[in-house]
Symmetry: C2
Subunit: 134 residues, 2 copies
Amino acid sequence: MHTDKIRITHQREVILETLKAVKTHPTADELYDMVRRQLPRISLATVYRNLEWMSEQGIVKKIEVGGRQKRFDGNIMPHYHIRCVECGKVDDVECDFLVAANQIPDTINGYRVLGHSMELQGICPDCNLKKVSS
Amino acid sequence: MHTDKIRITHQREVILETLKAVKTHPTADELYDMVRRQLPRISLATVYRNLEWMSEQGIVKKIEVGGRQKRFDGNIMPHYHIRCVECGKVDDVECDFLVAANQIPDTINGYRVLGHSMELQGICPDCNLKKVSS
DNA sequence: TTATTTGCAAAAACTTTGCTGATAA
DNA sequence: TTATCAGCAAAGTTTTTGCAAATAA
């Protein structure tokens, strides 16, 4: 993907606005469904291409965690996530108690360290209810 | 998958031995290639089914991190990983400096917390070399 | 003996890509 | 005007599933 001249297309704007507007961490096809309400003719490929491109640009963040599908986050401030192992939903976590990120060396096992991510796994309130009532 | 009567099949033994024997964190198809040297007629579906089943049983661990494919770890002791963003390789990390796991509450945002995982992202020595020399 | 597991092939799920027409600048 | 981008469809990649034959117990 060239970076010579970047265009602000309508699709690109709507995808970004939509992602920024939600506090969830949608997959490409979830975002596609949301965006389609404004742009009924948009294609899933465009959503994929733009999410990939925006995460390369650092405009959004590709969530590097478990689960089947990739998820995206409009919040690029450092923070961690908790994922429901039943339904796959991902929420933000307040994490004062967790990692002292500034203690992470910039070289480990010969790797040049670029970043880190932390995922808690759990069962969300909704899925907890379903399990209790079944 | 029923759990009424569990059979110790030859395939299951070889898959587990092979995974335990390596210090890498192979994907299903990497493990398939390794196992096939001993069991040339085994199918990839069997590898997938058994890895899934063994991770449900807690015999092995499915690595909940980024990257395209799922990876599996024969080491079920708690530890963290570093993944090369260039080639996808995953190594273990010594992590005294990282998370105080016992500080993680067992309820967060209404989620019942089951576990956590941490991934560092970086560039491995091999890929670093390739980048320097190109 | 018989219920579980395998191998195979097909399908499903998710993501990327090639191409042509549309469009931002 | 024109190089970038979108839409569409097709292909690629990874994982799961149905079913008949094989097999562990």
